[in-house]
Each structure stands twice: as C-alpha cells, then as structure tokens.
Symmetry: C2
C-alpha cells in the first residue's frame, strides 16, 4: 500500500471530522469552512487545514469545503465507505459493553463475530451476534473477512489471542489487555490501558508534586 506518512494523532481526528460532517449534512449545510469545523470539533482551524491537506483535501480560500465531498473523502480514507468487519474476543463485562455499544451505534465498523472460552457464554447472543467458541476463531475470521480484532481477554491470554487473529488475516488490533504484545510488521496494534489512563490522570490533580527545588535523581 502506498500512503503518505500521517501522524497517528491526525488519524484520530478524522473520525471526529466525520461525525461533525455527518451532522452538518443532516442539517443540509452544503459548504463548511475550517473555522466552522474548528468551532464544532474544538481543534484549531490551522490544525484542521493541515490534517485535511495530508489527504489532498483543500478547501477553496474564503469559501470552504464541500460538506458531502469531504465526508465521503474522509470515509474512504478511513476505509469506512464499504464497512469494515471486526471480531471481538472476550465477552466479559468489558467485551459485552464494547459489543453492545458498537452494535448499536455504528454500522461502518461492524462487529461480525464474538468469541469467548466460557462454555456458558458460547451460544448466547449479544445484540444479533452469537458468541462462539474461541476454537472457531481462525476459521470464522478468515471466512467473514474480518480486518479488525478487539482483544478484551485477560492479560495471560492476550498474546495467544493476537497471534490467532493475525494468523487468520486481521490487520489492525485494539487491545484492552494490560500486556505488552508483539505483532508482525504490517499489523497495527493500538493499546488502551485503563491503568495508564487512570494513573496519568492523577498528574492533573493537586496530588501531583512537581517541585522545582526537588533533589535531582543522580548517582553519587
């Protein structure tokens, strides 16, 4: 795949633009300026123009972007125009919440399969999707053409799960297990570690102690 080097932070902003553009299209706003996008997303107009220019989307100076065209463009860049299939592994509370949320909210990333090891869960449904045994993972993922894997299993099972997903053809993985995982080159791995999120949040409270006169950490 040829593609420009785009910072991850810019990719993360694309779905936000998409959401705003969908709203504006529903409100039948035909043209949108970077200033309006800034107002609705909270990003700066400069940031927005820079992000969109990565993908060859240039507004007309003093006019703006064609709402429908820009929406379609971003949708294709993200690969959402034709829908992308995802598989969820791990139907515990977190997995259940993710599945329920994803199944109800958006069709462009579709949870096409759910797997768990627990025989009591196998055969039950979350929304319209039947939970299957992990033993069927590789076959189903390959058959369904699943491209995204969501890992919500315990840390001890995470690497094994990732290996199975990758071997079945998954190209991008969203991992919630608190484990340092290895993927082969060409597979994208995004970790969401809730411990890290919570711990780093504490920095922004008055509990944080950054004193200028603190002793330097040095070897004697």
């Amino acid at each position: 795949m040829r593609r420009p080097k785009i910072p991850e932070a810019a990719i993360k902003r694309l779905p936000v633009y998409l959401r705003v553009l969908e709203e504006m299209q529903e409100q039948e706003v035909p043209i949108v300026s970077s200033a309006e996008l800034a107002e609705r997303t909270g990003f700066s107009p400069e940031q927005i123009r820079k992000d969109l220019a990565y993908f060859g989307a240039f507004g007309t100076r003093g006019v703006g972007y064609d709402t429908a065209l820009l929406r379609r463009r971003i949708s294709r860049i993200l690969g959402l125009h034709q829908g992308v299939k995802a598989a969820l592994v791990g139907a515990g509370h977190l997995g259940y919440a993710l599945a329920r949320y994803s199944l109800s909210k958006h069709k462009d990333v579709q949870i096409a399969a759910i797997f768990d090891v627990d025989p009591l869960k196998v055969g039950t449904r979350i929304g319209d999707v039947v939970v299957r045994s992990v033993s069927e993972l590789e076959q189903v993922v390959r058959q369904e053409g699943v491209k995204i894997g969501i890992v919500a299993v315990p840390a001890s099972e995470a690497q094994r799960t990732v290996d199975a997903l990758v071997s079945a053809g998954v190209e991008a993985i969203l991992n919630f297990a608190p484990a340092k995982l290895k993927v082969p080159e060409g597979v994208f791995l995004q970790n969401i570690d809730l411990t890290i999120e919570l711990q780093s949040l504490a920095y922004y409270t008055s509990a944080s102690q950054v004193e200028e006169d603190e002793v330097r950490v040095e070897q004697p």
Copy 2:
C-alpha cells in the same frame, strides 16, 4: 500550582516507566540505564531521557538512573505516592468492568465510590465498594476527598454528571460517554471514545483508500 509545560504524550508514558521500574525493583536491579528502559518499554532511549529531564531526573552518563529513586520520583510526579481517590459514575457493563479492573489491580488510584441511578443497583457491591444513588454524589465526593471522576453514563447524562463532579471538587475526569463536554478551566478532561478508536483503526487496514490520483475536494 507551578509546573513545567509537559506534553500530554509524555505524561502518558510516565505510568509505563513506573510499571517497569516496579518490576526492576522487585528484581532488585539497583541502577537502570535509558537503554534498558527503552528495551522494556519500547520507547527510544532519547525519548526516555527527554521525558525524565522534564522533571529534573538526570541519569549519570554511562551509568544510569537509581531505580528506587526514579520510581519514587515518578510516583510523586503523578501524585500516586499517597494514593488518589476516584469516583465512578455509571455501574453498567462498562462501569462494572472498570471498577472490577481498577479495584483488583492497583491501589494507587483507588475507586472510593461508585454511583448509579438504577434503584436495583444501589446498595449492591462491586468488590468492596457499595453502589450509591447519584443523589448522594456531591456529598460523598466532597466528604471522601475524591479528586478523579470516571464517567461511564449515557451521553445524555454526561454533562450533568461532569457538572456535579466538578462542583463537588473533582479535578480530573476520564469520560467514556460519546459526548462533547465542557469543564471549567483548571479541570482536566480526558475522553476515551470507543467509536473513534474503532473508526481510526480502520485506516490501518486494507479497507482504507488513499489514492494519490484521487480527485481533489474543491469548490468549482
């Protein structure tokens, strides 16, 4: 509070350093080089030296950092040395997963209170913590000295929840509701939007279409 301007990305790396330093202390490694930290965290040695220097932590050239001192330093920077209390609002599947996970895994950010609107949930326990009615939120948060709020309520309830947390003295908020929320200056808001995570993941799959010869989005 006086504090240096530190990029958010650097703050997010601190808990990772902390985890590695804890491991190394358990393994009784007295001194750690930036190369070893790089090996164990996956970040580059240059990145690590730069991050730690923000906080006045300088290793000795060719030797490294004192493991115990550096761990203590990072713990204080993050405000975790004395423990930080968090309150969770919303005990649905996501909230339940967050609470169970946080309650079992780490003591430095402690979930001190859980709230829900559902009378069937109020009075039940998650781990050792009793779920209380949202009507008690402000009083309990103030009483307990809670500094962090975790929002796992539906989008329609999110702003009201955040307002109540802020008014009770919460200083940093981790929000899982897919809503654009307002907080007053001085309160830190971190959003984790699972739709955005999933949608941006699709960019890294073969579904993404970034063609160089694609038509530019322009006004005629």
